[in-house]
């Protein structure tokens, strides 16, 4: 399938420091691609480079198979809608008048802007000046502006910022419905894994400007493989006895075994008991997505 976005070695350097380094993103058409990373990881910079707002230090961006250059940018952007960082608006104009600016700029039919406003449920507030909108309403207006063209690609940078839980749920449902209803590809960034987990079909995780994971959500979830943890007396002696199972010592003073079957657990237990090592507890532990995220991005990174 043709890629909606493909970057190759995409890098951006500011004052001698690489904020984004050698990024090879692959986003297929029709996907909802969650772009995750801690604050300051380089998500917005990457999205800005994808939209041609920031020039890469090196590397390239291709959208729908077309290389993004100064010359091709305007044509390529006709197929995209975006909301980067915070929603942009003319506060002294009404919501409808803001949409009219987008309509005139992109030469869109009237029905598009009405539909976009209706999708984000702003049609009742369209004649109110935007400076009197709440942050959530401004965010919705930003999404409506991005949707107005019903583009092939939607790039949304933390679109649920400032929304209340009900608003987040609405936006989540909207984003999930876009590929099926309008054939859109959505790239959405967030630093909240659970948000992406419920929306995305694929994900990329960026940390300190480098891509540390890219794949489907199933692949990401597969990283949450379970492990068996045992609390025993004389842990070192037990570890020597079970060296063929490659146990790991946990900081909590336990033995951990990864990828072991139920039969193997029974055999391990029998061997310990037969050798006079009491077993106090056997439990199964599964890594949460948050733990995987922290493992990938480094535990010190702030979520």
């Amino acid at each position: 399938m043709e890629k909606a976005i493909a970057t190759k070695g995409l890098s951006k350097e500011y004052s001698g420091v690489f904020r984004v380094k050698d990024l090879d993103l692959q986003i297929r058409q029709g996907e909802v691609y969650g772009f995750l990373g801690p604050n300051g990881a380089g998500k917005s910079t990457t999205m800005k480079m994808i939209l041609g707002l920031v020039r890469p230090t090196r590397g390239s961006v291709e959208l729908f198979g077309q290389r993004l250059t100064e010359k091709s940018r305007i044509d390529i952007l006709r197929q995209t809608g975006s909301l980067i960082e915070s929603p942009a608006y003319y506060g002294h104009l009404t919501g409808m008048e803001n949409m009219r600016i987008i309509q005139k700029l992109m030469d869109l039919p009237e029905k598009n802007i009405r539909k976009a406003l209706s999708i984000v449920r702003l049609d009742n507030q369209r004649n109110k000046k935007v400076k009197y909108y709440s942050l959530g309403m401004k965010q919705r207006l930003g999404i409506a502006m991005a949707l107005a063209r019903f583009p092939k690609l939607l790039v949304l940078d933390e679109p649920t910022n400032g929304l209340d839980p009900a608003g987040i749920e609405e936006i989540r449902e909207l984003i999930c419905s876009l590929p099926a209803q309008y054939g859109m590809t959505v790239m959405i960034s967030s630093h909240i894994l659970s948000e992406i987990d419920r929306m995305a079909t694929a994900a990329g995780i960026i940390n300190k400007g480098e891509l540390v994971f890219q794949g489907s959500m199933e692949e990401l979830r597969a990283k949450s493989s379970h492990s068996i943890v045992m609390r025993v007396r004389s842990r070192e002696k037990a570890a020597g006895l079970l060296s063929d199972y490659s146990p790991k010592m946990t900081p909590e003073g336990e033995l951990a075994f990864e990828h072991v079957s139920d039969d193997a657990v029974a055999r391990i237990n029998s061997r310990l008991v037969e050798n006079g090592i009491p077993v106090f507890r056997i439990e199964e532990r599964r890594k949460s997505l948050e733990e995987i995220f922290l493992d990938l991005t480094g535990k010190a990174a702030a979520l």
Binding site: K48, L51, G52, L53, V54, R55, I74, L77, R78, T80, G81, S82, I84, E85, S86, A88, Y89, Y90, G91, H92, L93, E97, R100, I101, I102, K104, L105, M106, V130, M145
Partner: protein
């Protein structure tokens, strides 16, 4: 043209034209009041009232035009800074260079329209006050056209500031500085005054006070179009640099 139309659309409820017109009408009031007082006092100003009026216009334009242009540029550019709409416009296929040009043209049209009203008021006052002699249409036209040429230069500087810096007080301070130079420049020697783009408004006085046989009178002075063309070209250069710099800016 589409982008220019959008600029006017964005100014809805901002009352930019009214603000610009109010500032120029304040200038008109000063000029006409001064012309009235001069005529009432008698002497040269009463003998040559059209020439006196044109001289007052040139002098006061030096004070009012730089600040009014600063206000216009600031109001027109500020709508983007306030809503941080640069990225939005850029992603909606609007070239930043086109945006820069549209804002420049919008400010020029607003100020040119307001100043056209001013010049009609000056002429109307002259007719109403029954100024002697034929209406010097050519001189009025020269004054208006020359003012527009200098406005291009001054506006180029103001737009540069207003687009580059979000805090518009910096641009307004530049406007005030320009007003000071435009007005007080008349007191400087020509060689000093002509260093500054704002100092050229007084070139359009088209008359100067001279002493003949112990009596002060007004002598006609031709407009030096070469100087004004120089200011216009300098303005276009500043505009070009500002536009290029803005188009290259990362958002």
């Amino acid at each position: 043209m589409q982008y220019l139309g959008l600029e006017f659309y964005k100014l809805k409820r901002r009352h930019v034209f009214l603000t610009v017109l109010a500032l120029f009408l304040a200038e008109t009031f000063f000029i006409l009041y001064s012309a009235y007082r001069s005529a009432a006092r008698g002497g040269t100003a009463a003998d040559l009232p059209w020439e006196n009026l044109l001289m007052q216009i040139a002098l006061l334009n030096g004070l009012f035009c730089p600040f009014t242009l600063a206000v216009a540029a600031s109001r027109v550019c500020d709508v983007e800074h306030k809503g941080d709409t640069w990225k939005l416009l850029s992603c909606c296929s609007e070239r930043m260079s086109s945006l820069y040009s549209a804002k420049f043209a919008c400010c020029m049209i607003l100020t040119a329209a307001a100043q056209a009203i001013q010049y009609f008021l000056y002429a109307g006052y002259g007719f109403a006050a029954k100024y002697p002699g034929a209406f010097p249409a050519e001189k009025f036209l020269a004054s208006y056209a020359g003012t527009m040429l200098i406005n291009v230069g001054v506006l180029a500087v103001q737009e540069f500031f207003s687009m580059a810096v979000a805090n518009q007080s910096a641009a307004l301070v530049a406007g005030l500085f320009g007003s000071f130079l435009g007005f007080a420049g008349a007191l400087f020697p020509d060689s000093v005054r002509r260093i500054f783009i704002w100092g050229y408004y007084t070139e359009l006085a088209q008359a100067r006070t001279v002493e003949i046989n112990g009596k002060w009178t007004l002598a006609p002075v031709a407009v030096n179009w070469e100087f004004l063309a120089g200011v216009f070209i300098a303005g276009l250069l500043i505009y070009g640099i500002g536009k290029h710099r803005f188009a290259q800016k990362e958002l």
